[in-house]
């Protein structure tokens, strides 16, 4: 029966040779290669749950009065968008499960991309010939940040509404073009034209998912065309030969198992751990705010940056050339993106290594890269943690302005420290490896001398 199905397919598409190649595509052995797959499977869950949500969500800011089941919101004026999400949470069966799974999947999607990026960076997988794959991945990372932001901002609740105001402030802060850009995106001065909700909606359900989907295909295509990299663990693994497990039958059940494992964790979280209980926040009003408003975790680095920059606008005569939010809200993420994007070429220049690489470095084998990566990461992390300094004050009593000053100091002091310490550790590890290797070779020699006798 299998024979007949294959024959049917091959006669009508001629793809048997391609399928044979695809089915026997070799996967590398290490567990860290599965992190990218975790991201992919989170994306699948996102799309599936997202489609479901579009059947219920009302992307409209038209006013309505709440007449539903949740008592504290009764008779309150709110937008249709907000009301539809409260109804999804309370009225639609399984609605809250799907909604929460969707939101958890978004948080996890970005987290797994970051883990995957760290693996790729610290093993040098971005080197020739995979620079393009690296760039595509970076674009996907930043696209998913925007996608998540739009997703939770469409709901028009108090927390995300405050976040949208900040987005407007950052857009406005771009030198010279900021006001034009913000007016274009929002359609009018804040809160903007009512069509802004539709713009967010279409970007979130069509434009960005299609973009990310296409980029995923390009990314996976490039990975397959150049084949996966591998660690140099077995003797036969090198820059020339790949030793791995074929997609079928070896890898397929593992990948499928991972997919259902990811789906399992996401749906368990979606049912058991509450996320973004917008009925507790209330609908957004421009004239209102709440303490403790935070963006989703993957934008925490930006709120940290916005809070750390001291209060000044850069003015030249009457022109406010650089309004304050620009530094933390726009320049900082741009710098991170650019540093990550150009890094493969900078490393080529600095190390003089322009050759082809299919085998990976262990982090210790590239002390400069590992040290730089650790230092850069520590810089971003300091700013990230600064973003939650107020809740740290509430929880632990550490004075807020004092924390801000400490973080400002750490921003400058910690990365160089991390750089030197990491580089030292790598070198020590390399030295320990070398000594181990020398010792093994000496033992091997003595064994060879002893045996023949």
């Amino acid at each position: 029966m299998i024979r007949r199905a294959i024959r049917f397919l091959d006669e009508r598409s001629g793809t048997a040779p391609f399928l044979k190649k695809a089915l026997r595509y070799l996967f590398p052995d290490h567990w860290s290669f599965l992190l990218g797959e975790v991201a992919l499977y989170s994306f699948v869950v996102l799309v599936a749950t997202g489609v479901y949500l579009t059947f219920y969500f009302e992307p409209s800011l038209a006013d309505t009065t709440y007449r539903g089941a949740y008592e504290p919101l009764r008779n309150l004026q709110m937008s249709e968008a907000y009301r539809s999400v409260v109804d999804i949470s309370f009225q639609v069966k399984a609605g809250l499960l799907i909604r929460q799974t969707h939101h958890w999947a978004a948080d996890v999607f970005v987290a797994s991309i970051v883990l995957h990026l760290l693996r790729v960076f610290f093993t040098g997988a971005f080197r020739n010939p995979r620079e393009l794959t690296w760039l595509v991945g970076l674009v996907m990372l930043f696209a998913s940040l925007l996608e998540g932001y739009l997703g939770y901002s469409m709901v028009d609740d108090l927390l995300s509404g405050m976040g949208l105001a900040i987005g407007y402030g950052v857009a406005l802060s771009l030198p010279f073009i900021g006001s034009n850009l913000a007016l274009g995106i929002w359609g009018a001065p804040y809160p903007g034209d009512p069509s802004f909700e539709s713009r967010m909606y279409i970007a979130h359900v069509l434009i960005l998912p299609v973009l990310i989907g296409v980029l995923i295909s390009v990314h996976l295509g490039l990975v397959a065309l150049r084949h996966h990299t591998q660690f140099r663990r077995a003797r036969r693994q090198s820059d020339r030969t790949l030793l791995g497990v074929p997609a079928f039958p070896g890898q397929a059940p593992r990948s499928l198992g991972l997919f259902f494992g990811v789906a399992a964790v996401l749906f368990l979280l979606g049912g058991l751990v509450q996320i973004n209980p917008i009925w507790q926040w209330g609908p957004y009003e421009l004239s209102q705010g709440t303490n403790g408003a935070q963006p989703d975790w993957y934008l925490g680095w930006l709120i940290g940056a916005l809070r750390l920059v001291p209060g000044f606008d850069v003015t030249i005569a009457d022109y406010t050339v650089v309004p304050n939010p620009f530094w933390g809200g726009a320049l900082f993420p741009l710098v991170v993106l650019i540093v990550l994007a150009v890094y493969p070429w900078v490393e080529r220049r600095v190390t003089g290594d322009r050759s082809f690489h299919n085998a990976l470095d262990r982090p210790r084998d590239a002390p400069g890269r590992t040290a730089f990566g650790a230092a850069f990461l520590s810089w971003v992390l300091v700013i990230f943690f600064a973003g939650s300094a107020d809740r740290t004050y509430v929880f632990l009593g550490l004075d807020y302005p004092a924390q801000i000053w400490v973080y400002r100091g750490l921003v400058f002091v910690l990365p160089p420290l991390v750089f030197f310490v990491t580089r030292r550790v790598c070198r020590e590890l390399q030295e320990a490896d070398r000594i181990e290797r020398v010792r093994e070779e000496a033992e091997e020699e003595t064994r060879r001398e002893v045996l023949p006798a």
Partner: protein, 327 residues
């Protein structure tokens, strides 16, 4: 007898030949079976099925307490059982081969050359390549610009005047969220109020103001605003000049000798503004003082705006210090 032996030999030969033709070279190596693993996989799949069925049952019940949690458990655990079944399958029932393969060629110089040749040779009929390219470039750029032009309708992109507009003008009454006018005597010290311009949209960035009353002797307003705070009542834009959140905090000392002075604070990045000094920034990342709205008390004791704000409201942009707000 000899005929029987020959017949047997032929038959055996046929069988042997058939066996050989029916046993091609194996691609996937044979592996040892494991009935225990098979049992485990079947058990897990049955669990997954039961949990999925439980999901549909839980879904069908109306008004079930903790329905979201039960649905999540049922579906999540069903997926988990399925995942476990696949993992057991992967580790125990599927042959994991290790195959060696060469990486694909780093590049293909011949095809690269041929590609370049094709492109190069295709231009044999063209004599003025640069002219054609220039014309093509001009056409492409112009068409590109034309295609993008309708984006200008997305908003008043080229006209930033709306950023300066606010609904406040001289004589506009201050009203609360239900539309009732504020009287000066309603404004107590030691607390804060949110006010809007009467008859205007509450939902505009220039609308909401925060109103506080301080002791007139404590005021240190700029000289041109000396008459802006009748009886010590002050009004400021409620929209933070840093990034646009509502300034929802008011700090007022019960015992001034040991406490910081009165201040309006924004909950987003903690920009702190001093109402006594005309909305000056005393902490936080705001780069511009909070715009102040001049107030008047009319004949019947009601609060009215004495004009527009001291400056444009909301987060800064390049032209924010270039002009004043417009009504």
């Amino acid at each position: 007898m000899r005929r029987l032996a020959t017949l047997l030999a032929i038959l055996l030969g046929v069988f042997r030949r058939r066996k050989r033709t029916e046993e091609p070279r194996r691609i996937v190596p044979a592996g040892t079976p494991s009935r225990g693993a098979e049992n485990a996989v079947v058990a897990l799949l049955v669990c997954a099925a039961m949990l999925a069925a439980a999901f549909t049952v839980v879904y069908a019940i109306d008004d079930l307490a903790h329905q979201t949690q039960l649905l999540g458990l049922a579906l999540g655990l069903s997926f988990a059982c399925l995942a476990a079944a696949l993992i057991v399958l992967a580790k125990r029932l599927v042959v994991s081969e290790e195959i060696e393969e060469g990486y694909p060629d780093p590049e293909h110089p011949e095809e690269q050359e041929e590609l370049e040749q094709v492109v190069r040779e295709s231009g044999s009929r063209i004599t003025r390549k640069r002219l054609l390219l220039a014309a093509g470039g001009a056409a492409g750029t112009a068409i590109g610009v034309a295609a993008v032009t309708p984006a200008l309708s997305l908003g008043p992109i080229l006209d930033t005047d709306p950023l300066y507009e606010t609904p406040w003008r001289r004589g506009r009454r201050l009203v609360d969220t239900s539309g009732l006018p504020y009287r000066a005597e309603d404004v107590s010290p030691d607390t804060f109020y949110t006010a809007f311009p009467e008859g205007a949209e509450k939902d505009e960035i220039g609308s909401p103001v925060v109103v506080v009353r301080l002791d007139p002797s404590a005021l240190r307003l700029p000289p041109e605003r000396a008459r802006w705070a009748p009886q010590g009542i002050l009004a400021f834009s409620k929209v933070c000049t840093h990034a646009g959140c509502a300034i929802a905090l008011y700090r007022k000392p019960l015992f001034p000798p040991t406490s910081p002075r009165p201040a309006l604070v924004c909950p987003c990045h903690y920009s702190t503004f001093d109402p006594a000094r005309g909305g000056e920034v005393i902490f936080g990342p705001a780069g511009r003082p909070l715009p102040q709205l001049p107030l008047e008390v009319d004949g019947s004791g009601e609060l009215r705006a004495g004009g527009n704000y001291s400056g444009p409201v909301g987060p800064s942009w390049t032209g924010v210090r270039g002009e004043g707000p417009r009504s």
